[in-house]
Symmetry: C2
Subunit: 205 residues, 2 copies
């Protein structure tokens, strides 16, 4: 389980999409939300758009790995697709905030690698937030305030990537994923493999 | 401090050289040894070749970070070049065995990332050991026995790379190095950087 968090506007979504294109063993966890779709957002790809009543039912029936309120909307991670992907040996990418990350760390059975993406500067952050033309000044101000709050949680993450250059940042996250997969504890069957090597038996492939 | 260990013949030296060529912030720790140079080995690049008496003096004067006897020869890591490189902010690569790694973990003040390189099969390992034409059958047999012993220490390492393909293995170790540099605790000045971001002050570059 790989978590990407960042203040809105730091480039996280772009990084996540590039990762998913380059890594066939990685699947995205699609969040459920009660907020309205933005232009261009697709049901089932960007979010599962649900009404408040359905969302409350998911909470009651323990069908969410984590959930949180942001402004007036609810966001949450459906449990079943994550469990299914992990059971098939796939890695799952989460685009969630610090609240979601804390809950996921407590609620999920699999181990979790967390990465925090920081913008290179406040000017760049504000520029990126403003370029979303559909948002009003008021929403941008609220987002800047929320970004400051979100950024205060960087010490809770394993890795920090400052997104100065998008290609370098994608490569950085790819390196983290590759390295984590090479950790001793994540390599299943290694003890048997080494025993065969030491026993002198030829290992195929 | 990045340690590469492996049984002789697993491809560690080739990987180390490729890493050093690709990464200007990485320097090699050159071991001291009492064994005779092999054809093509260069003093100061492959080893510091010293006599027994000089080696014993280095031990007495605490000028070695670690040392060990392998067959009839002594091997050790001079302390001063490592301390110097780390003080200048460089990363140091060590090509040492499990005994050296254990001592380094105890004796060095800096933190240590350890990688164990495994051969893809016993057949491949033996082939690579035999292709060193200058070694007698007896030496090859001793090496195979030592390789088995060395491989039993894989659980003491952070990362395991099975060297099936040399280019993939070099990329794997590069990913580990890149990821370790992105770990939160290794990024100096991050708290100040985030404070400036949150305070709204523009950060240059």
């Amino acid at each position: 389980m790989l978590v990407l968090s960042s203040p809105s506007g730091a480039g996280k979504t772009t990084i996540a999409r590039a990762l998913l294109r380059s890594d066939r063993n990685l699947v995205m966890s699609v969040s459920a939300t009660t907020r309205q779709p933005r232009p261009g957002e697709v049901e089932g790809r960007d979010y599962h758009f649900v009404d408040h009543e359905s969302f409350e039912a998911m909470i009651r029936e323990d069908r969410l790995l984590e959930h949180a309120r942001v402004f007036d909307n609810l966001y949450g991670t459906p449990r079943q697709p994550v469990d299914g992907a992990l059971a098939e040996g796939q890695d799952v990418l989460f685009d969630i905030d610090w609240q979601g990350t804390q809950q996921l760390r407590q609620n999920a059975r699999a181990d979790l690698v967390s990465i925090f993406i920081l913008p290179p500067s406040v000017g760049e952050l504000e520029k990126r937030l403003r370029s979303r033309a559909q948002d009003s000044d008021d929403v941008v101000r609220k987002r800047m305030a929320k970004a400051g709050d979100e950024m205060s949680h960087w010490p809770e993450y394993d890795y920090i990537v400052v997104n100065t250059d998008i290609e370098a940042s994608v490569a950085a996250v790819q390196s983290i994923l590759a390295a984590e997969r090479l950790k001793r504890d994540r390599q299943i069957g290694l003890a048997d493999f080494v025993n065969r090597l030491r026993g002198g038996e030829q290992v195929p492939g």
